[in-house]
């Protein structure tokens, strides 16, 4: 197996004291980011990205990806102890996690959440190890039309799989493409849509958008809900961990199903949030204790956490192998790769073997370190959450502002961040999804480039997008994903079964 050899080589790249140190720092920072309102995986990574420009790319990606793992773990802490989801994908964890904490089983709930997150992530990393090189090799033959069809499939998945109204998803996404188009046209080099403003010459940077939309917008939403956090005490001791672990193997089927759902939703960029809800819903219907879900069933914690983590992790597969990120955080990491001078996509596996396999090896190690860190440090993180919002909020605002400034050392970006923040608040209030907007800003230029190149090759005929079997298949899948809501409704009516909302 060529893959195993590459992976072992990856471990030899990663295993150094400095990388281990970055991993630890990344996990702790990540959990902190996941725990605090207003700081999430995507904008946490965006804020810290400029600080890593001087680091070697492998160390930098280890630090940043570990922040991502940490944030995934951290979301569970706030959901279970405080009934406040630190991240959107941990909303489903609150349904049973918080009732468990109220019954005095916080330790069991946290252990179950962390362990199932770990299993979900491990499953996804194994999938990445085995599948990513194959996908990358396959994608090496892709021309512009194939590339565009992959983008098309990715964005259609958002429309069909999201729980927001399709028209709002489309509006948000296309707004992202429009924002990406501002500035220099990457194909011809001419300026467009700047309306004479010199500040807009370089376009909108997605890092600023991420910090504003997710950071400032989130603070505004939290502010609206009032300022107090009331949490349950958390104590995890080895006896509780051991007891919970002994009970977990009974739920292997739930875990396996959740892993599969998570991987599927992560690779097609529907993301961790719908994956966690879907997994919870299916577990509820298929479990014999389904009626008791919502009152503190451990299975109701396992299902969404496993799915969210495996979706969050597998979102890196298309990012590495195709250059199409599966989640906003993966999109920010992709932006980081571009800044470090690494072109994500199939060629990465050929030209930057050390980097790719180092990253994949660090996913294994990072999740093991992460599990150890969260199991031992929960009380510390819970204590941080008890710091009142009146103190935390201005500090987070300052951190966001500094993060926005350091992207280009430009004060105008700080103003743009606030504009994006206010816009993000209103969009979020009106149920517009933000993830497709951010992904469109990141991928806008590349999607447009492949679209225009395809048209150039075909001399302007749109038929190029169904000219070969491969393109036609991917485009067809895209249309299925686009109308998935309608299709599943029809199917549901045809079989006479009630579909979950």
């Amino acid at each position: 197996m060529e893959g195993i050899g590459d992976l072992l080589h990856g471990f030899s790249v990663v295993l150094s004291w400095s990388n281990f140190f970055y991993m630890l720092v990344g996990i702790v920072l990540g959990v902190l980011i996941g725990v605090l309102p207003g700081l999430g995986g995507a904008n946490g990574v965006a804020i810290l990205l400029p600080l890593t420009f001087s680091m070697p790319p492998t160390s930098a990606i280890i630090l940043l990806s570990c922040i991502y793992w940490g944030a995934l773990f951290g979301g569970a802490i706030t959901s279970i102890l405080f009934n406040i989801p630190g991240e959107p994908w941990s909303v489903a964890t609150t349904f049973d996690g918080h009732p468990m904490a109220q019954k005095g089983q916080a330790g069991e709930a946290l252990t179950a959440a962390f362990t199932s997150s770990f299993i979900g992530a491990l499953f996804a990393v194994i999938v990445i190890t085995l599948a990513a090189p194959l996908v990358a090799r396959f994608a090496l033959q892709f021309g512009p039309a194939e590339k565009f069809s992959v983008f098309f499939l990715a964005f259609c998945s958002f429309v069909g799989m999201g729980k927001e109204p399709p028209a709002k998803t489309i509006a948000a996404m296309m707004l992202g493409f429009a924002l990406a188009a501002v500035g220099t046209d990457t194909v011809t080099g001419s300026l467009r849509l700047t309306f004479g403003s010199t500040e807009l010459l370089s376009g909108f940077d997605f890092l600023i958008a991420v910090i504003g939309l997710f950071g400032i917008g989130e603070i505004l939403l939290t502010m609206e809900e009032g300022l107090s956090f009331r949490g349950k005490a958390a104590a995890i001791n080895p006896a509780v961990v051991w007891q919970t672990w002994k009970g977990l193997p009974r739920y292997w089927l739930t875990m396996l199903r959740s892993c599969l759902i998570g991987c599927w939703m992560g690779i097609t960029p529907a993301g961790a949030t719908p994956a966690s809800f879907m997994s919870y819903g299916i577990a509820k219907r298929s479990s014999k204790d389904g009626a008791r879900f919502g009152t503190g069933e451990i299975e109701g914690v396992i299902a969404p956490e496993t799915a969210a983590h495996s979706a969050g992790t597998s979102a890196l597969l298309p990012m590495l192998a195709l250059g199409v990120p599966g989640s906003p955080t993966a999109a920010v990491l992709l932006g980081g790769l571009l800044i470090w001078g690494l072109q994500p996509g199939p060629l990465l596996f050929v030209e930057q073997k050390d980097f790719v396999w180092g990253l994949i090896a660090s996913m294994y190690l990072g999740n093991i370190v992460g599990l150890a860190v969260v199991l031992t440090m929960v009380p510390v993180f819970a204590a941080i959450l008890r710091v009142p919002f009146g103190i935390i909020a201005p500090i987070i605002l300052v951190i966001c502002a500094i993060g926005a400034y350091t992207v280009h050392n430009n004060s105008f970006d700080v103003i743009m961040m606030l504009v994006f923040g206010v816009a993000g608040y209103f969009l979020k209030k009106c149920n517009y999804p933000l993830a497709p907007l951010v992904l469109a800003i990141v991928l806008g230029d590349k999607a447009e480039e492949s679209f225009r190149q395809s048209l150039l090759l075909s001399g302007g005929s749109v038929s190029v997008f169904w000219s070969s079997g491969l393109v036609a298949t991917i485009m067809a899948l895209g249309f299925v994903a686009l109308f998935w809501g309608t299709i599943s409704n029809l199917l549901g009516r045809a079989t006479g079964r009630r579909r979950p909302a």
Binding site: A171, L175, D185, L193, E224, L227, F389, I391, V398, Y432
Partner: protein, 148 residues
């Protein structure tokens, strides 16, 4: 409803801007405005749908309660002042003022704790960014005076 109109306006601006630079076919392929024009058109169409949907919702289901909006304004106003102050005073002094103002008037903390955090945060930031990561942040008159 308002948001749908706002998004619609952005879409229309995109289309207008694209029309100015040409949306047709030139010798070197599609012109610069080609892609954004269609993107803008989709934004406009989707916003029309959203607007009609929003019209159908009864006005009783309000966007947010007034007290909530007052809370939100409490963050937006100081933040706007902060953002305007950064180029003038530098990020350190502005940050200290933002933290102090927020904690004193919104969090209602006593002066000792407020001052403690308002001064500690910029100092910590300074050490982390300028000394450790060697990333310069915007400075103002105070830093010049201190010779930093």
């Amino acid at each position: 409803m308002g948001v749908a109109l706002f998004v619609l306006a952005l879409g229309a601006i995109t289309m207008f801007g694209s029309l100015k630079i040409g949306i047709g076919w030139a010798d070197e392929g599609p012109q610069s405005g080609f892609f954004p024009f269609w993107v803008g058109l989709v934004v406009v169409l989707a916003s029309v749908v959203n607007f009609v949907r929003a019209m159908a919702v009864s006005p009783a289901a309000l966007f947010a309660e007034w007290p909530q909006l007052v809370q939100v304004r409490k963050v937006i106003v100081p933040m706007a002042i902060y953002v305007a102050a950064v180029p003038l005073l530098g990020i350190y002094v502005s940050s200290a003022l933002l933290v102090a103002g927020f904690m004193r008037w919104i969090g209602r903390y006593g002066w000792p704790l407020t001052l403690c955090i308002a001064i500690a945060l910029p100092v910590l930031t300074y050490v982390t960014f300028e000394k450790w990561f060697l990333v310069p942040l915007p400075k103002g008159p105070l830093e010049d005076w201190l010779g930093l």
